[in-house]
Amino acid sequence: MLKVDNLNVVFGHGADKNHAVKEVSFLVNRGESFGLVGESGSGKSTVLNCISGLLSNWYGSIEVDGAPLSHKRPISFYHKVQMVFQDPYGSLHPRHTIDATLKEPIAIHKLGDANQRVERVLSEVGLGPQFRFRYPHQLSGGQRQRVAVARALILEPEIVLLDEPTSALDVSIQAEVLNLLQEIRRERSLTYVLVSHDLAVVSHMCDTISVMNQGETVEIINREQLQTGELKESYTRQLLVASRGYDRQAIDQFQDF
Protein backbone atom coordinates (compact mmCIF):
# COMPACT_ATOMS: atom_id res chain seq x y z
CA MET A 1 0.00 0.00 0.00
CA LEU A 2 2.67 2.46 1.04
CA LYS A 3 6.33 1.92 0.29
CA VAL A 4 9.12 4.26 1.33
CA ASP A 5 12.50 3.48 -0.13
CA ASN A 6 15.81 5.18 0.71
CA LEU A 7 14.15 8.41 1.71
CA ASN A 8 16.53 11.28 2.42
CA VAL A 9 15.80 14.82 3.55
CA VAL A 10 18.43 17.53 3.77
CA PHE A 11 17.69 20.96 5.21
CA GLY A 12 20.00 23.92 4.64
CA HIS A 13 23.31 24.27 2.85
CA GLY A 14 26.99 24.32 3.73
CA ALA A 15 27.76 24.61 7.41
CA ASP A 16 24.04 24.71 8.29
CA LYS A 17 23.42 21.48 6.42
CA ASN A 18 21.24 19.10 8.38
CA HIS A 19 20.71 15.62 7.01
CA ALA A 20 17.43 15.11 8.87
CA VAL A 21 16.38 11.79 7.36
CA LYS A 22 18.92 9.24 6.12
CA GLU A 23 18.09 6.29 3.91
CA VAL A 24 14.81 5.46 5.59
CA SER A 25 12.88 2.54 4.09
CA PHE A 26 9.75 0.75 5.17
CA LEU A 27 6.70 -0.97 3.79
CA VAL A 28 3.16 -0.64 5.06
CA ASN A 29 0.62 -3.24 3.94
CA ARG A 30 -3.00 -2.48 3.28
CA GLY A 31 -5.02 -2.33 6.48
CA GLU A 32 -1.93 -2.34 8.62
CA SER A 33 -1.11 0.12 11.35
CA PHE A 34 2.51 1.19 11.19
CA GLY A 35 4.29 3.10 13.92
CA LEU A 36 7.26 5.43 13.77
CA VAL A 37 8.84 6.03 17.16
CA GLY A 38 11.85 7.99 18.28
CA GLU A 39 12.94 10.91 20.38
CA SER A 40 12.32 14.53 19.44
CA GLY A 41 14.43 15.40 16.43
CA SER A 42 14.74 11.83 15.22
CA GLY A 43 13.14 12.74 11.90
CA LYS A 44 9.92 10.80 12.34
CA SER A 45 7.58 13.72 11.67
CA THR A 46 9.74 14.78 8.73
CA VAL A 47 9.14 11.37 7.13
CA LEU A 48 5.41 11.91 7.58
CA ASN A 49 5.57 15.38 6.05
CA CYS A 50 7.34 13.96 3.00
CA ILE A 51 4.63 11.35 2.51
CA SER A 52 1.85 13.91 2.91
CA GLY A 53 3.50 16.30 0.47
CA LEU A 54 4.09 19.16 2.89
CA LEU A 55 7.83 18.88 2.37
CA SER A 56 9.31 18.74 -1.08
CA ASN A 57 13.06 18.75 -0.50
CA TRP A 58 13.36 14.96 -0.27
CA TYR A 59 14.89 12.38 -2.55
CA GLY A 60 14.42 8.66 -2.71
CA SER A 61 11.13 7.06 -3.53
CA ILE A 62 7.66 6.99 -2.02
CA GLU A 63 5.03 4.74 -3.58
CA VAL A 64 1.34 4.58 -2.87
CA ASP A 65 -0.47 1.58 -4.37
CA GLY A 66 2.56 0.86 -6.52
CA ALA A 67 2.56 4.32 -8.11
CA PRO A 68 5.58 6.48 -7.27
CA LEU A 69 4.80 9.96 -5.93
CA SER A 70 6.36 13.09 -7.36
CA HIS A 71 7.07 16.20 -5.34
CA LYS A 72 3.93 17.89 -6.58
CA ARG A 73 0.80 15.90 -5.81
CA PRO A 74 -2.24 15.62 -8.06
CA ILE A 75 -5.59 16.43 -6.46
CA SER A 76 -6.59 12.75 -6.48
CA PHE A 77 -3.74 12.05 -4.06
CA TYR A 78 -5.62 13.85 -1.29
CA HIS A 79 -8.49 11.42 -1.68
CA LYS A 80 -6.16 8.61 -0.85
CA VAL A 81 -3.95 10.07 1.88
CA GLN A 82 -5.06 12.34 4.70
CA MET A 83 -3.37 13.55 7.86
CA VAL A 84 -4.27 14.34 11.47
CA PHE A 85 -2.06 16.92 13.16
CA GLN A 86 -0.58 16.89 16.61
CA ASP A 87 -2.04 20.06 18.07
CA PRO A 88 -5.83 20.31 17.86
CA TYR A 89 -5.60 23.90 19.12
CA GLY A 90 -3.68 24.93 16.01
CA SER A 91 -5.11 22.70 13.32
CA LEU A 92 -8.62 24.17 13.13
CA HIS A 93 -9.31 27.54 11.55
CA PRO A 94 -10.28 29.84 14.46
CA ARG A 95 -12.91 31.76 12.45
CA HIS A 96 -14.62 28.80 10.82
CA THR A 97 -17.38 26.78 12.45
CA ILE A 98 -16.95 23.02 12.56
CA ASP A 99 -19.50 22.85 9.77
CA ALA A 100 -17.46 25.20 7.57
CA THR A 101 -14.22 23.34 8.30
CA LEU A 102 -15.77 20.03 7.28
CA LYS A 103 -17.51 21.40 4.20
CA GLU A 104 -14.33 22.91 2.80
CA PRO A 105 -12.83 19.62 1.49
CA ILE A 106 -16.23 18.68 0.05
CA ALA A 107 -16.26 21.96 -1.87
CA ILE A 108 -12.67 21.52 -3.07
CA HIS A 109 -13.34 18.05 -4.43
CA LYS A 110 -16.89 18.91 -5.58
CA LEU A 111 -18.36 15.87 -3.84
CA GLY A 112 -21.90 17.15 -3.24
CA ASP A 113 -24.34 16.12 -0.43
CA ALA A 114 -22.34 18.32 1.92
CA ASN A 115 -24.91 18.30 4.74
CA GLN A 116 -25.31 14.54 4.82
CA ARG A 117 -21.61 13.91 4.67
CA VAL A 118 -20.95 16.30 7.55
CA GLU A 119 -23.67 14.73 9.69
CA ARG A 120 -22.43 11.23 8.96
CA VAL A 121 -18.78 11.92 9.73
CA LEU A 122 -19.60 13.84 12.90
CA SER A 123 -21.60 10.96 14.30
CA GLU A 124 -18.81 8.61 13.28
CA VAL A 125 -16.30 10.47 15.45
CA GLY A 126 -18.80 10.64 18.31
CA LEU A 127 -19.80 14.28 18.12
CA GLY A 128 -23.50 15.08 18.26
CA PRO A 129 -25.25 17.47 15.88
CA GLN A 130 -25.17 20.15 18.58
CA PHE A 131 -21.45 20.61 17.90
CA ARG A 132 -21.86 21.25 14.23
CA PHE A 133 -22.16 25.03 14.24
CA ARG A 134 -19.78 25.74 17.08
CA TYR A 135 -16.47 27.50 16.70
CA PRO A 136 -13.28 25.68 17.73
CA HIS A 137 -12.91 27.86 20.84
CA GLN A 138 -16.19 26.43 22.11
CA LEU A 139 -14.77 22.88 22.10
CA SER A 140 -12.40 21.01 24.39
CA GLY A 141 -9.08 19.61 23.19
CA GLY A 142 -10.46 16.10 22.78
CA GLN A 143 -13.48 17.37 20.86
CA ARG A 144 -11.25 19.41 18.60
CA GLN A 145 -9.12 16.40 17.84
CA ARG A 146 -12.28 14.49 16.96
CA VAL A 147 -13.12 17.25 14.51
CA ALA A 148 -9.61 16.96 13.05
CA VAL A 149 -10.15 13.22 12.63
CA ALA A 150 -13.53 13.89 11.02
CA ARG A 151 -11.91 16.32 8.60
CA ALA A 152 -9.38 13.67 7.60
CA LEU A 153 -12.13 11.08 7.15
CA ILE A 154 -14.55 13.17 5.15
CA LEU A 155 -12.63 12.58 1.91
CA GLU A 156 -12.78 8.83 2.57
CA PRO A 157 -9.02 8.23 2.35
CA GLU A 158 -7.32 4.85 2.41
CA ILE A 159 -4.23 5.94 4.30
CA VAL A 160 -4.36 8.20 7.35
CA LEU A 161 -1.16 9.77 8.62
CA LEU A 162 -1.29 10.47 12.34
CA ASP A 163 1.28 12.91 13.66
CA GLU A 164 1.32 12.42 17.44
CA PRO A 165 -2.48 12.55 17.51
CA THR A 166 -2.76 12.38 21.29
CA SER A 167 0.36 13.99 22.71
CA ALA A 168 -1.29 17.42 23.04
CA LEU A 169 -4.22 15.91 24.94
CA ASP A 170 -4.97 15.15 28.55
CA VAL A 171 -4.09 11.61 29.65
CA SER A 172 -7.75 10.88 30.32
CA ILE A 173 -8.72 11.94 26.79
CA GLN A 174 -5.80 10.17 25.09
CA ALA A 175 -7.27 6.69 25.51
CA GLU A 176 -10.63 7.91 24.24
CA VAL A 177 -9.16 9.30 21.03
CA LEU A 178 -6.92 6.25 20.51
CA ASN A 179 -9.88 3.90 20.89
CA LEU A 180 -11.85 6.02 18.45
CA LEU A 181 -9.01 5.80 15.94
CA GLN A 182 -8.82 2.00 16.40
CA GLU A 183 -12.54 1.65 15.90
CA ILE A 184 -12.56 3.77 12.75
CA ARG A 185 -9.67 1.79 11.33
CA ARG A 186 -11.52 -1.44 11.86
CA GLU A 187 -14.75 -0.14 10.35
CA ARG A 188 -13.21 1.51 7.32
CA SER A 189 -10.27 -0.90 6.99
CA LEU A 190 -7.87 2.01 6.87
CA THR A 191 -4.10 1.98 6.77
CA TYR A 192 -2.46 4.04 9.51
CA VAL A 193 0.99 5.53 9.78
CA LEU A 194 1.35 6.74 13.34
CA VAL A 195 4.18 8.92 14.56
CA SER A 196 4.72 9.05 18.30
CA HIS A 197 7.36 9.37 20.95
CA ASP A 198 5.20 7.33 23.27
CA LEU A 199 5.93 3.59 23.14
CA ALA A 200 2.75 2.79 25.05
CA VAL A 201 0.64 4.50 22.40
CA VAL A 202 2.50 2.80 19.60
CA SER A 203 2.32 -0.68 21.12
CA HIS A 204 -1.42 -0.16 21.68
CA MET A 205 -2.06 1.00 18.11
CA CYS A 206 0.51 -0.57 15.81
CA ASP A 207 1.37 -3.97 14.43
CA THR A 208 4.77 -3.03 13.05
CA ILE A 209 7.02 -0.38 14.48
CA SER A 210 10.05 1.37 13.08
CA VAL A 211 12.41 2.84 15.66
CA MET A 212 14.23 5.95 14.50
CA ASN A 213 17.18 7.82 15.94
CA GLN A 214 18.94 10.86 14.46
CA GLY A 215 17.30 10.40 11.09
CA GLU A 216 18.14 6.74 10.71
CA THR A 217 16.08 3.61 11.15
CA VAL A 218 17.47 1.69 14.12
CA GLU A 219 15.32 -1.40 13.68
CA ILE A 220 11.89 -2.51 12.59
CA ILE A 221 10.08 -4.58 15.18
CA ASN A 222 6.61 -5.97 15.73
CA ARG A 223 4.28 -5.60 18.66
CA GLU A 224 5.13 -8.96 20.25
CA GLN A 225 8.81 -8.07 20.35
CA LEU A 226 7.98 -4.84 22.10
CA GLN A 227 5.81 -6.61 24.66
CA THR A 228 8.25 -9.44 25.39
CA GLY A 229 11.28 -7.18 25.21
CA GLU A 230 13.13 -9.33 22.64
CA LEU A 231 14.93 -6.46 21.01
CA LYS A 232 18.13 -6.63 18.99
CA GLU A 233 19.31 -3.06 19.28
CA SER A 234 20.42 -1.59 22.59
CA TYR A 235 18.96 1.81 21.58
CA THR A 236 15.50 0.30 21.36
CA ARG A 237 15.98 -1.40 24.71
CA GLN A 238 17.00 1.90 26.26
CA LEU A 239 13.96 3.63 24.75
CA LEU A 240 11.75 0.93 26.23
CA VAL A 241 13.32 1.37 29.68
CA ALA A 242 12.91 5.14 29.41
CA SER A 243 9.24 4.78 28.51
CA ARG A 244 8.53 2.92 31.78
CA GLY A 245 9.03 6.10 33.75
CA TYR A 246 11.72 7.78 35.76
CA ASP A 247 14.31 5.47 37.29
CA ARG A 248 17.49 6.91 38.74
CA GLN A 249 19.58 3.76 38.25
CA ALA A 250 18.40 3.18 34.72
CA ILE A 251 19.16 6.73 33.66
CA ASP A 252 22.70 6.50 35.03
CA GLN A 253 23.32 3.62 32.68
CA PHE A 254 21.99 5.39 29.57
CA GLN A 255 24.34 5.94 26.67
CA ASP A 256 24.27 8.42 23.85
CA PHE A 257 23.60 6.96 20.45
Binding site: F85, R95, F133
Partner: protein, 306 residues
Protein backbone atom coordinates in the same frame (compact mmCIF):
# COMPACT_ATOMS: atom_id res chain seq x y z
CA UNK B 1 -34.63 25.14 21.07
CA UNK B 2 -33.74 27.52 18.30
CA UNK B 3 -37.13 29.20 18.21
CA UNK B 4 -36.77 32.95 17.96
CA UNK B 5 -39.19 34.43 20.44
CA UNK B 6 -40.23 38.09 20.34
CA UNK B 7 -39.14 38.61 23.95
CA UNK B 8 -35.67 39.88 24.70
CA UNK B 9 -34.90 36.79 26.74
CA UNK B 10 -35.78 34.48 23.88
CA UNK B 11 -33.65 36.38 21.39
CA UNK B 12 -30.78 36.56 23.81
CA UNK B 13 -30.97 32.85 24.49
CA UNK B 14 -31.10 32.21 20.76
CA UNK B 15 -27.99 34.32 20.24
CA UNK B 16 -25.99 32.96 23.14
CA UNK B 17 -26.84 29.28 22.85
CA UNK B 18 -23.95 26.84 23.06
CA UNK B 19 -25.55 24.71 20.42
CA UNK B 20 -26.42 26.89 17.43
CA UNK B 21 -28.65 25.20 14.91
CA UNK B 22 -27.33 26.92 11.79
CA UNK B 23 -24.32 28.76 10.48
CA UNK B 24 -26.36 31.97 10.56
CA UNK B 25 -27.18 31.54 14.24
CA UNK B 26 -23.53 30.85 15.08
CA UNK B 27 -22.40 33.95 13.21
CA UNK B 28 -25.13 36.11 14.79
CA UNK B 29 -24.15 34.93 18.25
CA UNK B 30 -20.56 35.81 17.59
CA UNK B 31 -21.56 39.21 16.23
CA UNK B 32 -23.74 39.86 19.27
CA UNK B 33 -20.88 39.11 21.66
CA UNK B 34 -18.65 41.48 19.70
CA UNK B 35 -21.34 44.13 19.90
CA UNK B 36 -21.60 43.74 23.68
CA UNK B 37 -17.83 44.13 23.93
CA UNK B 38 -17.96 47.23 21.76
CA UNK B 39 -20.72 48.92 23.72
CA UNK B 40 -18.75 48.46 26.93
CA UNK B 41 -16.29 51.04 25.55
CA UNK B 42 -18.00 54.42 26.09
CA UNK B 43 -15.61 56.48 23.98
CA UNK B 44 -15.96 54.14 21.02
CA UNK B 45 -19.74 54.50 21.24
CA UNK B 46 -19.33 58.29 21.23
CA UNK B 47 -17.18 57.94 18.10
CA UNK B 48 -19.77 55.71 16.47
CA UNK B 49 -22.57 58.17 17.30
CA UNK B 50 -20.65 61.04 15.71
CA UNK B 51 -20.05 58.99 12.57
CA UNK B 52 -23.71 57.93 12.43
CA UNK B 53 -24.62 61.61 12.73
CA UNK B 54 -22.22 62.40 9.90
CA UNK B 55 -23.80 59.75 7.68
CA UNK B 56 -27.33 60.93 8.47
CA UNK B 57 -26.30 64.55 7.81
CA UNK B 58 -24.82 63.58 4.47
CA UNK B 59 -27.87 61.55 3.47
CA UNK B 60 -30.40 64.25 4.39
CA UNK B 61 -28.28 67.31 3.58
CA UNK B 62 -30.98 68.97 1.42
CA UNK B 63 -33.48 68.66 4.28
CA UNK B 64 -31.13 69.78 7.04
CA UNK B 65 -29.36 72.69 5.39
CA UNK B 66 -31.47 75.87 5.65
CA UNK B 67 -29.76 77.65 2.73
CA UNK B 68 -28.20 76.88 -0.62
CA UNK B 69 -24.52 76.13 0.09
CA UNK B 70 -23.20 77.80 -3.07
CA UNK B 71 -25.54 80.72 -3.64
CA UNK B 72 -23.63 83.94 -2.92
CA UNK B 73 -25.36 86.87 -1.26
CA UNK B 74 -22.88 89.71 -1.01
CA UNK B 75 -25.22 91.94 0.99
CA UNK B 76 -25.08 89.35 3.74
CA UNK B 77 -21.33 88.67 3.83
CA UNK B 78 -19.30 87.95 6.98
CA UNK B 79 -22.30 87.92 9.31
CA UNK B 80 -21.51 86.66 12.83
CA UNK B 81 -23.34 83.78 14.49
CA UNK B 82 -27.05 84.44 14.80
CA UNK B 83 -30.40 82.68 14.88
CA UNK B 84 -30.66 83.05 11.08
CA UNK B 85 -27.12 81.86 10.41
CA UNK B 86 -26.09 79.47 13.18
CA UNK B 87 -22.45 79.38 12.16
CA UNK B 88 -22.41 82.83 10.51
CA UNK B 89 -21.78 83.56 6.84
CA UNK B 90 -18.59 83.61 4.80
CA UNK B 91 -16.96 86.22 2.60
CA UNK B 92 -19.54 85.66 -0.16
CA UNK B 93 -22.51 85.69 2.16
CA UNK B 94 -23.04 81.91 2.08
CA UNK B 95 -24.41 80.23 5.20
CA UNK B 96 -21.53 78.31 6.83
CA UNK B 97 -23.80 75.81 8.57
CA UNK B 98 -25.35 74.82 5.24
CA UNK B 99 -21.91 74.53 3.69
CA UNK B 100 -20.69 72.26 6.48
CA UNK B 101 -23.80 70.09 6.14
CA UNK B 102 -23.26 69.73 2.40
CA UNK B 103 -19.53 69.31 2.93
CA UNK B 104 -20.18 66.17 4.98
CA UNK B 105 -21.16 64.53 1.69
CA UNK B 106 -17.77 65.32 0.19
CA UNK B 107 -15.97 64.07 3.28
CA UNK B 108 -17.87 60.78 3.27
CA UNK B 109 -17.40 60.45 -0.47
CA UNK B 110 -13.63 60.80 -0.07
CA UNK B 111 -13.19 58.35 2.80
CA UNK B 112 -15.52 55.71 1.37
CA UNK B 113 -13.88 55.77 -2.04
CA UNK B 114 -10.37 55.75 -0.59
CA UNK B 115 -11.27 52.81 1.67
CA UNK B 116 -12.86 50.91 -1.23
CA UNK B 117 -9.82 51.42 -3.44
CA UNK B 118 -6.93 51.22 -0.99
CA UNK B 119 -7.97 48.45 1.41
CA UNK B 120 -8.57 45.69 -1.20
CA UNK B 121 -5.37 46.59 -3.07
CA UNK B 122 -3.41 46.51 0.18
CA UNK B 123 -4.80 43.20 1.41
CA UNK B 124 -4.34 41.58 -2.00
CA UNK B 125 -0.73 42.69 -2.40
CA UNK B 126 0.07 41.80 1.21
CA UNK B 127 -1.47 38.34 1.32
CA UNK B 128 -0.08 37.33 -2.07
CA UNK B 129 3.41 38.52 -1.12
CA UNK B 130 3.25 36.86 2.28
CA UNK B 131 1.80 33.59 1.06
CA UNK B 132 4.10 32.94 -1.87
CA UNK B 133 7.26 34.49 -0.47
CA UNK B 134 10.43 34.38 -2.55
CA UNK B 135 10.70 36.52 -5.66
CA UNK B 136 7.01 37.51 -5.68
CA UNK B 137 7.36 38.78 -2.12
CA UNK B 138 10.52 40.71 -2.94
CA UNK B 139 9.08 42.42 -6.00
CA UNK B 140 5.77 43.35 -4.38
CA UNK B 141 7.36 44.55 -1.17
CA UNK B 142 9.98 46.70 -2.92
CA UNK B 143 7.17 48.42 -4.84
CA UNK B 144 5.41 48.94 -1.51
CA UNK B 145 8.62 50.34 -0.02
CA UNK B 146 8.92 52.85 -2.83
CA UNK B 147 5.44 54.18 -2.06
CA UNK B 148 6.17 54.16 1.67
CA UNK B 149 9.36 56.15 1.19
CA UNK B 150 7.47 59.34 0.32
CA UNK B 151 5.50 61.42 2.82
CA UNK B 152 1.83 60.84 2.07
CA UNK B 153 0.81 64.45 1.48
CA UNK B 154 3.83 65.20 -0.71
CA UNK B 155 3.19 62.16 -2.91
CA UNK B 156 -0.51 63.01 -3.11
CA UNK B 157 0.47 66.57 -4.08
CA UNK B 158 2.66 65.23 -6.87
CA UNK B 159 -0.15 63.02 -8.19
CA UNK B 160 -2.71 65.81 -8.03
CA UNK B 161 -0.30 68.15 -9.75
CA UNK B 162 0.08 65.58 -12.53
CA UNK B 163 -3.61 64.64 -12.75
CA UNK B 164 -4.97 68.14 -12.29
CA UNK B 165 -6.85 69.54 -9.27
CA UNK B 166 -10.30 68.24 -8.36
CA UNK B 167 -11.94 66.01 -5.80
CA UNK B 168 -11.80 62.83 -7.93
CA UNK B 169 -8.10 63.24 -8.57
CA UNK B 170 -7.55 63.95 -4.89
CA UNK B 171 -9.28 60.66 -4.07
CA UNK B 172 -7.14 58.75 -6.56
CA UNK B 173 -4.00 60.40 -5.20
CA UNK B 174 -4.90 59.61 -1.58
CA UNK B 175 -5.82 56.01 -2.47
CA UNK B 176 -2.51 55.51 -4.28
CA UNK B 177 -0.63 56.75 -1.25
CA UNK B 178 -2.57 54.91 1.45
CA UNK B 179 -2.48 51.24 0.38
CA UNK B 180 1.16 50.41 1.28
CA UNK B 181 0.64 50.24 5.08
CA UNK B 182 -2.29 47.85 4.49
CA UNK B 183 -0.10 45.65 2.34
CA UNK B 184 2.54 45.62 5.08
CA UNK B 185 0.03 44.65 7.77
CA UNK B 186 -1.57 41.93 5.65
CA UNK B 187 1.82 40.52 4.73
CA UNK B 188 2.92 40.36 8.36
CA UNK B 189 -0.32 38.63 9.35
CA UNK B 190 -0.08 36.23 6.43
CA UNK B 191 3.44 35.19 7.33
CA UNK B 192 2.40 34.29 10.86
CA UNK B 193 -0.63 32.36 9.57
CA UNK B 194 1.02 30.73 6.56
CA UNK B 195 2.80 27.98 8.46
CA UNK B 196 0.08 27.24 10.98
CA UNK B 197 -1.40 23.77 11.09
CA UNK B 198 -4.82 24.79 9.83
CA UNK B 199 -3.30 26.13 6.63
CA UNK B 200 -1.22 22.96 6.23
CA UNK B 201 -4.37 20.97 6.84
CA UNK B 202 -6.28 22.73 4.09
CA UNK B 203 -3.32 22.34 1.73
CA UNK B 204 -3.41 18.61 2.44
CA UNK B 205 -7.03 18.61 1.36
CA UNK B 206 -6.04 19.84 -2.05
CA UNK B 207 -6.89 23.54 -1.78
CA UNK B 208 -5.16 25.78 -4.30
CA UNK B 209 -3.46 29.08 -3.46
CA UNK B 210 -6.49 31.14 -4.54
CA UNK B 211 -8.82 29.35 -2.13
CA UNK B 212 -6.30 29.40 0.71
CA UNK B 213 -5.67 33.12 0.35
CA UNK B 214 -9.25 34.26 -0.09
CA UNK B 215 -11.07 31.90 2.26
CA UNK B 216 -8.54 31.06 4.93
CA UNK B 217 -5.96 33.83 5.16
CA UNK B 218 -7.87 36.99 4.23
CA UNK B 219 -10.59 36.58 6.90
CA UNK B 220 -7.86 36.50 9.53
CA UNK B 221 -6.14 39.60 8.14
CA UNK B 222 -9.42 41.46 7.91
CA UNK B 223 -9.84 42.41 11.54
CA UNK B 224 -6.50 44.16 11.89
CA UNK B 225 -7.07 45.77 8.49
CA UNK B 226 -10.49 47.13 9.46
CA UNK B 227 -8.99 48.63 12.60
CA UNK B 228 -6.14 50.19 10.67
CA UNK B 229 -8.41 51.60 7.95
CA UNK B 230 -10.71 53.11 10.56
CA UNK B 231 -7.79 54.73 12.34
CA UNK B 232 -6.48 55.96 8.98
CA UNK B 233 -9.81 57.60 8.14
CA UNK B 234 -8.79 60.55 10.29
CA UNK B 235 -5.57 60.85 8.30
CA UNK B 236 -7.45 60.56 5.01
CA UNK B 237 -9.84 63.33 6.03
CA UNK B 238 -6.89 65.49 7.00
CA UNK B 239 -5.05 64.77 3.75
CA UNK B 240 -8.17 65.56 1.73
CA UNK B 241 -8.65 68.72 3.76
CA UNK B 242 -4.98 69.55 3.30
CA UNK B 243 -5.25 69.16 -0.46
CA UNK B 244 -8.38 71.30 -0.36
CA UNK B 245 -6.56 73.86 1.74
CA UNK B 246 -3.76 74.02 -0.82
CA UNK B 247 -6.33 74.45 -3.58
CA UNK B 248 -5.61 71.04 -5.13
CA UNK B 249 -8.64 69.16 -3.82
CA UNK B 250 -12.24 70.14 -4.24
CA UNK B 251 -12.59 73.30 -6.34
CA UNK B 252 -14.71 76.34 -5.44
CA UNK B 253 -17.54 76.75 -4.93
CA UNK B 254 -17.95 73.19 -3.63
CA UNK B 255 -18.22 73.25 0.18
CA UNK B 256 -15.25 71.09 1.05
CA UNK B 257 -14.15 71.59 4.65
CA UNK B 258 -10.45 71.96 3.89
CA UNK B 259 -11.10 74.50 1.15
CA UNK B 260 -13.40 76.38 3.53
CA UNK B 261 -10.70 76.69 6.18
CA UNK B 262 -8.31 77.85 3.51
CA UNK B 263 -10.72 80.55 2.32
CA UNK B 264 -11.37 81.62 5.89
CA UNK B 265 -7.77 82.07 6.94
CA UNK B 266 -7.51 85.67 5.73
CA UNK B 267 -10.37 86.57 8.09
CA UNK B 268 -9.10 84.69 11.10
CA UNK B 269 -8.67 87.76 13.36
CA UNK B 270 -11.94 89.58 12.74
CA UNK B 271 -14.29 86.87 11.53
CA UNK B 272 -13.02 83.82 13.42
CA UNK B 273 -16.06 81.65 12.58
CA UNK B 274 -15.07 81.35 8.94
CA UNK B 275 -12.15 79.08 9.76
CA UNK B 276 -13.24 77.75 13.18
CA UNK B 277 -16.47 76.07 12.06
CA UNK B 278 -15.14 73.88 9.24
CA UNK B 279 -11.95 73.31 11.24
CA UNK B 280 -13.99 72.04 14.18
CA UNK B 281 -15.96 69.78 11.85
CA UNK B 282 -12.73 68.22 10.55
CA UNK B 283 -11.43 67.84 14.08
CA UNK B 284 -14.62 66.24 15.45
CA UNK B 285 -14.97 63.73 12.60
CA UNK B 286 -11.27 62.76 12.72
CA UNK B 287 -11.50 62.28 16.46
CA UNK B 288 -14.64 60.17 16.05
CA UNK B 289 -12.88 57.83 13.62
CA UNK B 290 -9.94 57.48 16.00
CA UNK B 291 -12.24 56.62 18.89
CA UNK B 292 -14.16 54.14 16.76
CA UNK B 293 -10.92 52.54 15.56
CA UNK B 294 -9.71 52.09 19.11
CA UNK B 295 -13.00 50.49 20.09
CA UNK B 296 -12.91 48.17 17.09
CA UNK B 297 -9.36 47.17 17.92
CA UNK B 298 -10.49 45.90 21.30
CA UNK B 299 -13.33 43.88 19.78
CA UNK B 300 -11.58 42.55 16.70
CA UNK B 301 -8.13 41.87 18.12
CA UNK B 302 -7.46 38.32 16.93
CA UNK B 303 -5.45 37.59 20.07
CA UNK B 304 -8.45 38.21 22.30
CA UNK B 305 -10.10 34.90 21.43
CA UNK B 306 -8.62 31.61 20.34
Amino acid sequence: MSQQSPQMNGTKAWLLTDTPGSAFQAASGRFYLGLLDFFRNRLAVVGLLIIVTLVITALFAPLIAPYDPVAANLANRLQPLSADHWFGTDELGRDIFSRIVWGSRLTLYVIILVAIIAAPVGILVGTVAGFFGGIIDTVLMRITDIFLAFPKLILALAFVAALGPGIENAIIAIAITSWPPYARISRAETITIRNSDFIRAIRLQGAGPLRIITKHIMPLCLSSLIVRVTLDMAGIILTAAGLGFLGLGAQPPSPEWGAMTSAGRSFILDQWWLITMPGTAIFVVSLAFNLLGDGLREVLDPKSDS
